[in-house]
Each structure stands twice: as C-alpha cells, then as structure tokens.
C-alpha cells in the first residue's frame, strides 16, 4: 500500500515515541543497578552511570538470600511447568478432538477461572493446604502453580492439537497402530514444539508469580525471588535503590531470555486457541 511521505514521517515519529515509552523504564533500571551509592544520593542523576560499579550486585547478595530464593523459584517453576504440561496435554487432546460435554465443561472452566479474583481462591486454598501441612512449603506452592497454569496451558495446547491433521492419525490407525501407539508415535512428535513452548510459558508465569507465594510462604528460606525482592523495600517504603535495582535486574533475566525464544509460538498458540484457521 502506498503511503504519502508525510504519512510515513508521522508513522516513524509514532513508532519512535512507542519505542521510547516501552524502553526507558528498563534502561533506567539497568542504569540504576550500576550506579554507586554516592551517585544515587546526589541530585541530577544521569542515564550513563558516571563510574559504573558492580557493588550493588555484591551488596544485594549480602543483604538478602538471593541465591536461595532463585533456587526456590527455579525448583517451583520447573516442577510446576513439567507437571502442568504432563497433565494438560492429554486433556487438551480430548478437548480438541471430541466435542463432548466434558470438553465443553473444561472450556467453561478455563474461561471462568480467569474471572474470579484470587482472594476468593486463595482463602480456601490456604485452609486446605494448612490442613495438609503444606503451608510454607514449596510442594504446596507447586500444587497451586500447576492448577493456576492449567487454563492457559490448555488453551494453547488445544490450538496446537487442532493444528495436527486428523488424517495422519487415521492413517496410522489404518496401518494397525493402536490408540496409544498413534498418540505416542504420530501425534506427540508433531506436538512437541508446542508442548515445549507451553511448558516454557508456564515456567515464566510461575517464576514471575507473586501473590500466592506471598500468602503461602512464610519464612525467608522458602520464599521465591519476587517475594524476597520486596524485602529490599523497607517498612516506610524507603528502599536501598542500588541493590534493589541490581536484584530486580537479575530476577528478570531468565524470563526475558526464555520469552525471547518462545514469543512467536505463544502468540501463534493464543490465537490458534481462539480462532481456528
């Protein structure tokens, strides 16, 4: 489509404005992370740190148990992602292939679960987990994360299953392969990229999650990264900016890297679930 030159200039100006709006807070975070305490205390902060230092990172690790927290986050997020995908894939398969009442109920649950405020879910969950002695335990957190990751995982996986032509499965059945055999050797390999993308997405959501972790984990040795990050902010809202920025920057890296890898698949999967082509 031809667009006039002034139109083009306007479009680039708008795009530039968007780029600035999207990027500047993150750049400021990075910049703050490398500034010395003296520089942070002085008026007239600059974009480029005057004398860049790694002190904030060292201090962040000294002040809070960041390694431990990262370990907890890694454990909870990986376990939740793997379990969620393992149990969601078969259900997604049934939802995509059979238009039964059960499949419809599952779709209904996916939608309804998005509408309920977490308070209504967390209070009963808290009571249930308390009875099972799973408060302040990563096992309890993983259970919650699995169920919490399921709606979106199902949504994406249903889309991926629909993209696998039924003809392939029928051909395998004609060749005498049983149902399980067909699923394992025909459908599963074709689904694999989608399953990996879904697992990685579940991992990021769990890695980033804050509310459940805040309510369910009481002691510092169990807490995950987002909860520990808030400990840098004091009771009066006064924060030690340097270490806070450094820790926040580190906590973001895994999500950013994974997201960069799977971004295309996620958006594809989201729409595949919504409007089938």
């Amino acid at each position: 489509m031809r667009t006039s030159t002034t139109g083009r200039v306007g479009q680039y100006a708008a795009l530039f404005a968007y780029l600035v709006f999207l990027a500047f807070p993150f750049l400021w975070l990075v910049s703050t992370a490398f500034k010395s305490p003296r520089e942070l205390g002085s008026l007239h902060p600059t974009w480029i740190p005057r004398d860049p230092t790694l002190d904030n990172f060292r201090q962040a690790f000294d002040e809070q148990p960041l390694l431990r927290a990262a370990g907890n986050s890694l454990l909870a997020a990986s376990a939740a992602a793997v379990i969620a995908v393992l149990i969601a894939t078969p259900l997604a398969y049934v939802m995509a292939r059979h238009r039964t009442r059960l499949a419809k109920a599952a779709t209904g649950w996916v939608v309804v679960s998005q509408a309920f405020p977490l308070v209504l879910v967390i209070i009963p969950l808290f009571l249930v987990l308390k009875n099972l002695h799973l408060i302040n335990s990563l096992v309890g957190l993983v259970l919650v994360y699995v169920v919490w990751a399921l709606p979106f995982a199902l949504w994406m996986l249903v889309g991926y299953v629909r993209a696998v032509p039924t003809e392939l499965e029928e051909a395998a059945a004609v060749d005498g392969a049983g149902r399980l055999r067909t699923l394992v050797s025909v459908t599963a390999p074709l689904l694999a990229p989608g399953i990996v993308a879904t697992a990685l997405f579940a991992f990021i959501t769990a890695w980033n999650e804050f509310f459940f972790a805040l309510v369910l984990l009481k002691t510092a040795d169990k807490q995950t990264l987002p909860v520990v990050l808030t400990h840098f902010i004091g009771a009066e809202g006064v924060a030690d900016l340097g270490p806070l920025a450094a820790a926040a920057f580190l906590a973001t890296l895994p999500s950013l890297i994974i997201f960069a890898i799977i971004q295309r698949r996620i958006t594809g999967g989201m729409l595949a679930g919504a409007v089938k082509s």
Binding site: F116, L120, N208, F210, F259, V275
Partner: protein
C-alpha cells in the same frame, strides 16, 4: 465468554471430521483424569468452598467452630464505606488502565502491521513488559518515580518544568502514576493479540478498498475493524477483569497508600484476610467483586454485540 463464543462460532462454521460427538471411551478417561482431579480438588472445590465461606464467620487462628451466618457479611459490607471507596478506586483503575491500554495497543499494532523499518526492535521491546515479573515492573517504576534519583523528575528539571514531586506519595498523583504503570505493563500483550488479529484480516479486501479510493480511516472502519472486532472485544473484556483483580503491581508501588488512595479491592481483601484474619468477610468481598464485574462485563458485551447487528451495516 467471548472466547467461548468465538470458538463455538468457528466450529459451527466448518463441520469437521474431528467434531466427534461420541462419548469418550475408556481410553479418553485415562487421558482426562490426570488433569481433572487437580482441577476439581484445587480449583473447582476451593472456589465453591470460597463461596460458602462468604456466608460464615470464618477467622484465622480461632479455636471456636466456624458458624453459618447467612447474609450478615454482605449486610456489613453494604455499610463498609472503606470497602466501597476501595471498589470505586478499583473501577477507576480498571477503566483508566484498560481504555488507554487498548487505544495505545491498537495504535502500535497498526504501526507494526505496516512495512516499517525498526519493526523488529519494537517487537523485541514489546516483549520486555510482558515477560517481566510484576514485582520487577513495580520496582522499576519506583526508580523512575523516585523524587531524587528518578528519571522523571530529572527530565522535568532539565526542561525547566519545576522541581518535580514525589509522585507515588502525593494524594492527587498516586493513582494516575500507578495507572500509567498499569498501562505500560499490560500494553504489549494486547498489542501482540491485536497484531495477530490484524494479520488475519483479508489483504485483498484492503487492497480493493484502496483501489476504490477509500482513505485510511474508511479502510480501517470498513475492512480492518469488522475483522478485528471479535479479538478486540475478547482482549478488552479479559484486560478489564485482569486489571480489576490486579494486585502485585500496586502492592509493590504504593501498598495501597497514600491514605488508601491506591488501595485496590484486591489489596483491601488481602489485608482483611491475611493481616486481620477475617476469612469469611474477605471471601464475601471477593464474591461481591465477581458479581459486580460480571454484571458490568455482561452489559458491555451485550451493548457491543447489539451495535454490531445494528449500526455497522450502513
């Protein structure tokens, strides 16, 4: 709701071989159960339990047995001005975030759909807010808003627009300041969804309209928007729900302050439940939140759908 209708509609459009209506055989149960049990035990069950709790006087750490008190929580809630003030702030926040979020995202999606250079950079940057933990987003904007070491006040000073202020603790600036953060954080996901919707609109129609001499606005109204509409409605409805129920961002930015000016309903209910231990009362708040939001959304969606069958045809 919209998403369901979207799937159903497309399913009706094309009867497919896979639309197998037979009840699933034993093998299918084997496939379904591993997910069904956790869903029932840890999602559906707790949800129903939560609804029941709203009608009890459940409290944390109490030895006396919990009692059924009927609608008493709701009666108390009706007169709880603090809660309704929080509810009002929640609505201002949800609308204040969802509407700009949609408009800005639509603008960006339309730009990214064009053949512009630097598109890849914008796509890459759009990932950042989406992938970030909400806590980090909050921390990051605290650094931006910081009265001394923050970039916002420094920029204002550079341009001679005064000394700036303490944005997050000012009574009048706190809510607008957190709304900006909400828009920033949710824009990318909306953009990506709308962009995917745009790329599904028929190119040929667009070109035909251009040949007929339709201007950009006409082309948008007659070709792009009708195709984009279902996606736009779905993501707006979801954004509204998500925003109304949001917690972490504001918890990190202001913890509801100053003086409750940014205390969203979720923060209010969280404090009620886990600081004061009023489980039953907090559950009642949750229930009222769902009810009002569902009602508003139903009105919004019905209104939009009517508009679609009525006006657009001209």
């Amino acid at each position: 709701m919209t998403l369901v209708t979207a799937t159903e509609r497309s399913a009706q459009g094309a009867p497919r071989a896979e639309g197998d209506r037979r009840p699933p055989d034993r093998g299918a149960w084997f496939l379904v159960l591993p997910a069904l049990i956790p869903i029932l035990v840890l999602s559906v069950g707790p949800l129903l339990y939560g609804i029941l709790l709203a009608f009890t006087d459940a409290q944390s750490g109490r030895t006396r047995a919990t009692q059924w008190i009927g609608g008493l929580n709701f009666q108390d809630l009706l007169h709880d001005t603090l809660f309704w003030e929080s509810f009002r702030i929640g609505l201002v926040w949800a609308v204040g975030v969802t509407v700009p979020q949609f408009l800005l995202a639509l603008g960006l999606a339309l730009l990214l759909d064009q053949d512009l250079k630097l598109r890849w950079l914008a796509r890459a940057l759009a990932i950042i807010p989406w992938a970030m933990p909400e806590v980090v987003v909050g921390v990051m904007w605290r650094l931006v808003y910081n009265p001394d070491a923050g970039v916002l006040n420094e920029t204002l000073r550079t341009f001679g627009l005064g000394d700036g202020r303490d944005w997050l603790s000012g009574l009048s600036t706190a809510l607008p300041a957190v709304i900006v953060v909400g828009v920033w954080a949710g824009m990318p996901q909306t953009t990506v969804t709308l962009l995917a919707g745009l790329q599904n609109t028929p190119r040929e129609l667009h070109e035909a309209a251009a040949m007929d001499g339709a201007g950009a606005w006409r082309r948008f109204r007659t070709v792009t928007w009708p195709a984009l509409r279902p996606v736009a409605l779905a993501i707006t409805a979801l954004n509204f729900i998500w925003n109304f129920n949001s917690f972490a961002l504001v918890y990190v930015l202001t913890s509801g302050g100053p003086g409750g000016r940014t205390r969203l309903p979720m923060l209010f209910a969280y404090e009620e439940a886990f600081r004061y231990g009023q489980f039953g009362y907090a559950a009642a708040m949750g229930l009222v939140m769902v009810a009002v939001i569902s009602l508003l959304l139903a009105l919004f969606l019905v209104g939009r759908l009517k508009e679609r069958t009525g006006g657009d045809r001209a």
